[in-house]
């Protein structure tokens, strides 16, 4: 099956309007700083089909997190349009659930109270919300930890709590901003397996922001490669690896080819980013000279 993907890496054609769960059109965002106006993202357009897993990858400073915040409705004052199933998004949308890069569990709530949080806001009865929360806790493999506080869990477990909490919101679209960035490589791969299992089980439309090529190839159906600042669409790459996938796929030949291909796209952008950073440091006298 993996051998099927051994040939050319296809570039994806645009989808038809009825197949779009999420659409972003011509997203441009400028920030005004003391050094002038910076364009964080420039004319970025993307579509995500129902049940599809799209990963957005790019070097640091390419505006990935800005794009995440715009799609999630946390940032305004941008050009372009974000729509969910054809409905324009202005502000946080009930169909979009977000998982953040930073540790985001509520330290004053137990695991089950954290996961039940969106249901509490939706005024679901206590008994029902606890039952539903337990279902999602079990989905992320944290049975037995319901009464624990986040401080008693590892970083990977806390991130699973955050994922379960967002899933309990039952969003049509799951947005994740580098959710495994703070974790070690083994935990990252195993958590990737867990996310894949859940995504397949729930047929969850997912948009993952990441800078990790292995993670993107392991998880995604398609990858959007972004340029360094300003962040533009460099290329969409379809990942033709068989499903269901697990972390074992990282050792396959086809996987390696995808990683190499995406790295060749990214290397140039990452180099530009590094040079830009060095130039800034020199100009500010921060190079230690």
């Amino acid at each position: 099956m993996i051998a099927n993907a051994a040939g050319k890496l296809p570039t994806v054609a645009p989808q038809t309007s009825e197949s779009r769960a999420l659409r972003a059109e011509g997203i441009t965002k400028h920030y005004t700083t003391s050094e002038g106006t910076i364009t964080a993202v420039d004319s970025v357009s993307l579509d995500v089909a129902p049940g599809e897993f799209l990963a957005v990858i790019g070097p640091s400073g390419c505006g990935k997190s800005t794009l995440f915040n715009i799609i999630g409705g946390l940032v305004d004052g941008y050009e372009g349009r974000v729509s969910v199933a054809g409905e324009t998004v202005a502000g946080p949308h009930a169909s979009i659930g977000m998982v953040f890069q930073e540790e985001s569990t509520f330290p004053w709530r137990t695991v089950v109270e954290n996961v039940a949080f969106p249901l509490e806001i939706a005024r679901v009865s206590r008994a029902e919300r606890l039952e539903r929360a337990r279902h999602f806790i079990s989905l992320v493999g944290l049975e037995g930890f319901e009464r624990r506080y986040p401080a008693e869990l590892s970083g990977g477990m806390r991130q699973r709590v955050a994922i379960a909490r967002t899933l309990a919101f039952e969003p049509k679209i799951l947005l994740m901003d580098e959710p495994f960035a703070a974790l070690d490589e083994q935990t990252r791969l195993l958590l990737g397996d867990k996310v894949l299992q859940i995504q397949q089980q729930l047929k969850q439309t997912t948009l993952l922001i990441t800078h990790n090529i292995t993670e993107a190839v392991q998880l995604a159906d398609r990858i959007l490669v972004m340029t360094y600042r300003p962040g533009r669409v460099k290329r969409f790459v379809k990942i033709d690896l068989p499903r269901p996938r697990s972390s074992e796929i990282v050792s396959s030949e086809a996987f390696g080819r995808y990683v190499a291909k995406i790295w060749s796209d990214l290397r140039e952008e990452a180099s530009r980013g590094m040079q830009d950073e060095e130039t800034c440091k020199r100009q500010s006298g921060g190079d230690g000279a």
């Binding site: 659930g97 985001s104 004053w108 986040p150």
Partner: protein
């Protein structure tokens, strides 16, 4: 678990005993003047007499009651003002420096003004205690809200929380540990000022007793009264600690 609880308590008690024994020795050996600091053994011996003759229990409850009312006012007014200043940036920019300056002002010296307003009553004592404790509660409340991690706020926004829900469900619980630091500081300031004003206007509870005993040059009795002031402080610390653990069990 038992070891974790017993060891600190044993160490604390041991250190306290060692301090008392050292004080006893220094006074007996003449390194500390016994006409300024009485022997700890004399202070211990005076407890029964002061409790029986000076109505210490009633005075204890009077001072504790004044501190409780001041503490409740501090909680209601201080936290509300802190929340208001956090929400209204202009007001915060205008007032924060003044409030910080007020924290270091010797408000107790304004007692004649309070006497004019509230008369020679417990309310004068309570209001001076309240005013003295207000700045740390306001400042720490602002600090607590401002220090809430942005990602927690964003989680709330992503779940479409209203501003009220955002405040009650996220900002307030996140700020609670810092708010409690402010409340404890406020209570310390309030208690110092309450005892100070009782002493100055010769009215009320333990402060008045300290004044009386000091004027009679009953040094062991004075120190006994001071011990009861410390007991009020200990009771309030224990109560606030329990309330905080109840509100934030994870801490």
């Amino acid at each position: 678990m038992t070891r974790d609880r017993v060891l600190p308590a044993a160490l604390g008690l041991g250190t306290f005993t060692a301090f008392i024994l050292a004080a006893e020795a220094l006074i007996r050996l003449g390194f500390v003047n016994r006409f300024i600091v009485p022997l700890p053994s004399q202070v211990a011996g005076a407890f029964a007499r002061v409790v029986a003759e000076e109505h210490v229990v009633a005075r204890f409850f009077m001072t504790a009651g004044e501190a409780l009312v001041a503490g409740l006012l501090l909680t209601a007014v201080g936290i509300s003002l802190g929340a208001l200043l956090y929400r209204v940036a202009l007001l915060r920019a205008a007032c924060e420096t003044w409030i910080a300056a007020m924290a270091s002002a010797p408000i107790v010296l304004m007692y004649p003004l309070f006497l004019v307003i509230f008369g020679r009553s417990a309310w004068t004592i309570i209001m001076i205690g309240f005013m003295a404790g207000l700045p740390p509660v306001i400042l720490k409340t602002i600090e607590g809200f401002a220090g809430t991690r942005q990602v927690l706020v964003n989680v709330g926004r992503s779940f479409n929380l209203t501003r009220g829900q955002q405040f009650v469900k996220i900002l307030f619980p996140a700020a609670l540990p810092t708010i409690f630091v402010g409340l404890r500081l406020g209570l310390i300031f309030a208690l110092i000022n309450i005892v100070g004003v009782e002493f100055l206007i010769n009215f009320g509870g333990l402060g008045q007793l300290i004044n009386d005993l000091a004027e009679r040059y009953d040094l062991p009795g004075t120190y006994v009264a001071i011990c009861f002031v410390i007991l009020v402080s200990v009771v309030f610390f224990e109560v606030t600690g329990r309330i905080e653990r109840w509100l934030r069990p994870a801490e």
